[in-house]
Amino acid sequence: MSRLLIWTLLLLTLSAPATGAVLPSAEEIQRLGARMYREGILPDGQAMKAFVSNDVAVDGTAFTCVSCHLRSGLGSVEGEVVTPPTNGRILYQERKPYIKGKEFVPSVANYAKYLPVRPAYTDETLATLISAGVDPTGRSVLSVMPRYELEDRDMAILIAYLKTLSDRPSPGVGKQEIRFATVIVEGSDPVAVESMVTPLQFSVDRKNSLAKAAGVNERVARMGYNMLGDLHGYTFTLTRWILKGDPATWRAQLEEYDRKEPAFALLGGISPGTWEPVHRFCEERGIPDLFPVVDDPVLSDTDWYTHYLSRGVRQEGEAAARYLHGMVELIRDRAIVQVIRDGRRGRALADGFRTVWAETGHTPAVDIVLPAGEPLTAEALRQAVAGHKPAVLILWDDAGLINPLGELMADPSRPGMIVASATWLGSAATTVPEALRAPLFLTWPYRLPQDDKRYDIAARKVLAGKRPDKYDQVILRQSYITQDVLGRALMMMRGEFYRDFLLDTIGMMEDMYYPLYERVSFGPGQRYASKGCYIVQLGKGENPQFEKRSEWVIQ
C-alpha cells in the first residue's frame, strides 16, 4: 500500500469533520479568520502549527496562506508556479477542464489547465486538505503546500473565512458598470487637479467608447471578449469626491460619498497637504487607492490599500544620505549641517536624510530649523557654517536659497559641497549661476528631463489633443501611470472584480518603464512604486541640463 494511501485512510478517520464546532459571529470570523490566513496566528494568539514535506515542523507565521494564495484568495499563475484559488466560491465548485461561459475567468479556466480535475469540496474534505494535504481525489499537495494542525473550532473558523473571500462582488461593481472616484482636497491648485483628472477621464472615456462599440458591433464584441473577458462590455464612471474644510472632518465627508456612490477603487487623488485621513479611510473600508498625488505619503510596511508612486519628497532626503554615505571616507570627522525650512516639505526631506544617515551608522547631522516664511539670508548661512565648519551643507528650502548661497560661496570657510532639492527649487534650478554649479548637488526623483522627452508621445496621448502646456507635466505623467496600471490590472483580472484581487494583481505586475520615473515596480505588498532618485549637477552654459552624478537607485 502506498504511503499516500495510508495517510489518506488515516486522516479520513482522524480528522473529525469541522462542522460540529460552534462558530463565532460573522465579524469574529472575519477578524480571527483573517489573522490565521494572513498572519498564521490562531485565535488563542499562538502561531499556527505547520508542517512541510508532511512532518517537518515550521513556523506557521512564516508559511501563511496569504503568502501563496494572496489576499483575495484567488491565487496566481506565475510561470511554473501555480497556486489555485482558496476561496469558498471556487473550492465548492467542481474543477474540470472546460466550464462553459468560464473560459476567460482565470480562477476557473487557468487552474483547470494546470491542475487535475477534482470534485467540489465539502467542509470535511476541505478540512482534510488543510490538515493532511490530501485533496478529495486522494492526491497529496504536500510537495508544494504545508499542512496545518488545527483544533476543530479553529478549522471551522478558517473554513468559514475562506467562504467569505472574494465572495460577493465588491462595492462599486455593477452588472455592466464599474464606478471609480477621485478624491480632490479643496485648495489644490486647479492646474494640478486638471492634470491629475484628465488622463483618468481619458482612460474612462476610451473604455466606454469600446463598450459602446461592442454593444453595436458583433465582431468588436467578440474580439473584446477574447481579449478582456467580461470586462469588455463594462462601462466605467469617474466621480470627484471633493473634501472641504478641516482634515478632521474629511472622514465624515468620505463616508457620505461612499454611502451615496460607492466606488470600486479611488484613482489618483490630490491634496496640497495631508493625505492621512483618506489613507486611513481606505485602509479601514478596504478600498484600493491608486497613486494619489501627494508629497508626503503615509509610510507603513503593513498598510495595504493605498499605493503611492514613491515615498514622496522624503525619498530625496534618503537619496542624499545614501549618496553621501558613498563618500563618507572623504568627509570623515567633519560635520554635516542640515538647514531645514520648517513645514511639511522641509521636515519630510530632513527626516528622510536623518533616518537613512542614522541607519548607515553615522553621527547625526546638525539640524538648523528656519522658521516658515522668514527669508533665508547670507548672514544666517554664514552663522550656520561658522559654528560647525561643515564639509557638507544641506539646504532644504525653496529657490530663495540661491542668492544667499551665492554670497556664502565667496566666504573662505565655505563648505565643499552643498545639497538641495531640485524639485523644491523648481524652475529656478536651471538658472543657478555658473559659480554655484560645481559645489551644488541636487536631488531629482525623476528621469532626467532630456531623457523623459522620449516618453512625450506616450504621455500626451492621454490629453486627447488638448494642449500640453496647460498642464503640470509631472502630475500628467503620474496620472498617466495610474490609468495604465489600472488598465493592465483590470485586463489581467478579467471578470473577477474584487478589491483585494485588484491589489493582488498589481502586486504580480512586472517592473514597468513609464514616463517620469526610471523604473516603477510593484511586488506583493509593495506600496511605493518608484524607489529611485538621482543626484544631479547642472551642466555648463545658458540653458544647462541636469547631469547625473549617481545611479537611479543609490545603494
Binding site: P199, E329, M417, A458, V462, Y534, R549, I554
Partner: protein, 120 residues
C-alpha cells in the same frame, strides 16, 4: 482585424501615439557601461575611494536600453564595443578622473515598427 486589436488595447491602455512626430535619422549617443576604474591623474586621491566613487560616476552615464525601447519606437545601433571614455570624477573632495568602459550606441527614433509597444 489588426486595427481592432489596436483599438481595444488602446482603449484600456491609452497607448502612445503611433505616428512618429520627429524625423527619423536624428539621434543621440548612448553608453552602456561595462566597467570602470579610477585614475588619480596626479591628484594623490585614494585609489580605493576613487574606485568606489567611479562606480557611481560611471554607472550614472550608463543608459538603460529598455528605456529607449519603451518610450515608443526607438532603436539602438551599436557603434563601438568596450570603448574607454574619460570623465572627471566631479567630487568636491577628491580630484582625478574616471575611466568608464562602455559600449557605444546611436539611439534614434525608428522608422519601422510603428505599432503599439510590447505588452499591449
Amino acid at each position: 482585424m489588426k486595427a481592432a486589436v489596436l483599438i481595444l488595447a488602446a482603449a484600456l491602455l491609452g497607448s502612445p501615439g503611433l505616428a512618429a512626430d520627429k524625423p527619423a535619422g536624428e539621434g543621440e549617443i548612448a553608453y552602456i557601461v561595462n566597467g570602470y576604474r579610477y585614475d588619480p591623474a596626479g591628484s594623490g586621491g585614494d585609489p580605493d575611494t576613487g574606485h568606489s566613487l567611479c562606480g557611481t560616476r560611471c554607472n550614472a552615464i550608463s543608459a538603460d536600453s529598455v528605456d529607449y525601447m519603451m518610450g515608443g519606437g526607438w532603436e539602438m545601433r551599436k557603434l563601438a564595443a568596450d570603448r574607454e571614455i574619460v570623465i572627471p570624477l566631479d567630487n568636491p573632495f577628491m580630484k582625478g578622473n574616471c575611466i568608464c568602459t562602455v559600449d557605444e550606441f546611436l539611439a534614434r527614433r525608428s522608422t519601422r515598427n510603428q505599432t503599439v509597444r510590447e505588452g499591449q
